[in-house]
Amino acid sequence: MQSEVMFAGFGGQGILMSGKVLAHAAMEEGHEVLWMPSYGPEMRGGTAYCLVMISDRLIGSPVVRNPSHLVAMNRPSLEKFAPLIKPAGVVLINSSLIAIDAGREDLDVIKIPVTAIAKELGNVRAANIVALGAFVERSKIVGFDTLRHCVHEEFVNKKNFLSLNMNALEEGKKAAEMLPKK
């Protein structure tokens, strides 16, 4: 079994980091993982994304046309990637910044105002971790405790941001829990 998660949004929205935390958690759980970012000058003012691949066996091709899931932090990235997601995939829409829909019926779309939630927590930059919490809660792609552990590790050396992000993770989880089960 292999699944792929696409994280996408503006540069500066912490896209690469949430992907990395997820990859870390999957690795901790003994999976094979691969994290691949977009890179280079196209990042200037454009869409940044990263793909996290999680698998039970050695990961072959790092090139995936149709990822399993999507975390879309802004509108251009939803528009770009939603059409590519495999049927039944979880698609998280940051409804604070995205007013449109995924435009597909065969996906498990969850709309969460992650930016607004982060703002309420005191720092808009934690939106990526809110999204991560919500996404993992919905997709169950890794265990939540592992995820908590990995978020902790990520921020343990940035003391000012640790509790902010631990809270963000829980708030994301909560927001997802409140959605109707599909």
């Binding site: 503006f10 003012g45 802004n74 509108r75 251009p76 910044l97």
Partner: protein
Amino acid sequence: MALKHIIDVDRCKGCGLCVTICPKNVLEISDKVNTKGYFPVYQARAEDCIFCTKCCIMCPDVAITIVEENKQSAA
């Protein structure tokens, strides 16, 4: 001939440089996203504008033009 201050919302990247530079404090950043995902500037106090072109000179994205009103009328 009256002058008109025009902000091309979709060229604006919301950098805020013009806001700081405006001698009459005319400009503010909007809270509505433009098509490119930026929060563009707008003339919050258009009536105070003295058409000094400082904002035009500062803007790295040529988002602001000032034209003579009648020339624009056709538009």
